[in-house]
């Protein structure tokens, strides 16, 4: 009796401990009954599902135990879109845009040549076109813009152009300083844009002369001089490009200087899409602006250089502006003809 009870206990305890172990390892362990129809006994059938959530919300967000809300984004496939934009679309689109602008200007230069002043000989009388505040603002903004454009292009063209030439270490050092320059020169650029808006918006409101100017393409081809007030339609287009794209650059730039302050990850990606697209367009516009203000037209540079232009040039290019000046009686700055010979 005792022996049978002891043996029984031993057999029972063996069965309890060994049999489940055998079931875990053995090939003959019956697969769960629900294998054929998974949903029948799937305890997590109604739980969060990756593909379903991605379709519904485009990204997966949850809760984390660390005090950084950015870490709560589990997955944002939009990062792949950002990769496509940054590495495929942006280099090609901006490259083609800027190259096309340079090519168009080159074709214009070699077919039409420099726009000279033959039909409006120098009168010797100088009038002020831009005062010292206007010129200071222009050149502050211009210097900043060139620094910003070069360091900005470095963010995606640098590794394709400069990197192979100078190697990883030198390129990394240069890019580090370029980034700091980009972040620093942003502020004088923004200040310049704001001052320019206040100073020049009055003279850049579209008026009745603009349509004719545009129809005749500013006389660039026909060699005529359609009338214009202080700014012609072409200059107004430059101004409004600078305002629109400059403000877009300033806004998105500040957003990027303070990342995740107002926008989430997808907002930050869009800030870059807007910033780089606006930058590429504005770079192309400013290349045309630099061309026409220096090489493209005789006498144009003086306006922003010394601030004074010859009355003959002004009559040819800004006839209505000269009439307005006469009407209000603004005196010429100086008359070279009557200056004493030293």
């Amino acid at each position: 009796m005792n022996l049978r009870r002891v043996l029984g206990l031993i057999v029972f305890s063996l069965a309890v401990t060994v049999l489940p172990a055998g079931a875990q390892h053995g090939q003959d362990a019956a697969p769960p009954a629900q294998t054929g129809s998974p949903n029948a006994a799937n305890p997590t059938a109604d739980s969060a599902n990756e593909q379903r959530l991605l379709q519904e919300m485009r990204k997966l967000q949850g809760r984390v135990t660390i005090p950084d809300y950015k870490a709560a984004t589990l997955e944002q496939p939009q990062g792949r879109d950002y990769q496509w934009f940054h590495e495929r679309f942006l280099p090609w689109a901006s490259g083609i845009l800027i190259a096309a602008m340079i090519l168009a200007l080159a074709v214009f230069y070699f077919t039409r040549g420099r726009i000279m002043l033959e039909d409006s000989p120098e009168s010797g009388i100088k009038i002020q076109r831009f005062n010292v505040i206007e010129r200071l603002t222009h050149w502050m903004t211009a210097t900043s813009f060139i620094v910003l454009a070069l360091t900005g292009l470095n963010y995606f063209f640098g590794k394709r152009v400069l990197f192979p030439l100078i190697g990883p270490d030198a390129f990394s050092t240069w890019s580090h300083w370029a980034k700091l320059a980009h972040n620093t020169f942003a502020w004088p650029f923004i200040a310049g844009i704001l001052v320019m808006i206040v100073t020049w918006v009055r003279d850049n409101i579209p008026d009745r002369y603009d349509w004719r100017w545009l129809k005749e393409f500013g006389g660039f081809i026909s060699n005529t001089h359609p009338p214009a007030r202080r700014f012609n339609a072409g200059q107004k287009m430059i101004f409004w490009s600078v305002v629109v794209f400059g403000l877009a650059l300033a806004t998105t730039g500040i957003i990027m200087l303070f990342p995740f302050w107002t926008l989430d990850i997808n907002g930050m990606q869009w800030a870059q899409y807007v910033h780089s697209s606006a930058a590429a367009i504005l770079i192309a516009v400013i290349i045309a602006h630099i061309y026409i203000g220096t090489l493209g037209m005789e006498g144009a540079y003086e306006a922003m250089g010394s601030g004074e232009v010859d009355l003959g040039w002004a009559r040819a290019h800004h006839s209505e502006w000269v009439k307005e000046l006469h009407r209000v009686g603004v005196p010429p700055v100086r008359n070279v003809n009557t200056m004493p010979a030293e």
Partner: protein, 198 residues
Amino acid sequence: MARMKFLCDADRCIECNACATACKNEHDVPWGINRRRVITLNDGKPGERSVSMACMHCTNAPCAAVCPVDCFFTTADAVVLHSKDLCIGCGYCFYACPFGAPQYPRVGNFGSRGKMDKCTYCAGGPEADNSPAEYAKYGRNRLAEGKLPLCAEMCSTKSLLAGDGEIIAQIYKERVRQRGYGSGAWGWQTAYRESVAT
């Protein structure tokens, strides 16, 4: 050569956060940097699910593609690593990363993020394996010692799997076959352009 991947079996993750803790401890990761974290979806509601997430070491990695100074490189085991000496802290990799993996020592005001830090798959950086310089910048190089990432190695429920992609996918498929259900390999479609057929 192996093609190293992570696979989080979300049906097994119990949000114990031991993977994140192990990672921090193994690599002396500074405060504020989270190379791995556990995210809970539908927290406290029916259908709650937790997933452990770090760098997935993507195929055609977006971080490496957008890096303006090309500081990323992919090892023979397909682990995506980077050089902190070359990194300029621009933050683009964080915008491109589908999984929020890149981390920065400082908040990014005025672009002063500092050098990016992320999961190295316990494979260190470009320096000599397990040299003091490598440890200081990237943490321990377990792969060079023949070990797998610690987060997965010590996962209490074996939810987090690390190793060659084909092998861990096979383990996961077998699990799904045995238990009859599985929510799939989270993030694989985005990271590797393929999922685990179950």
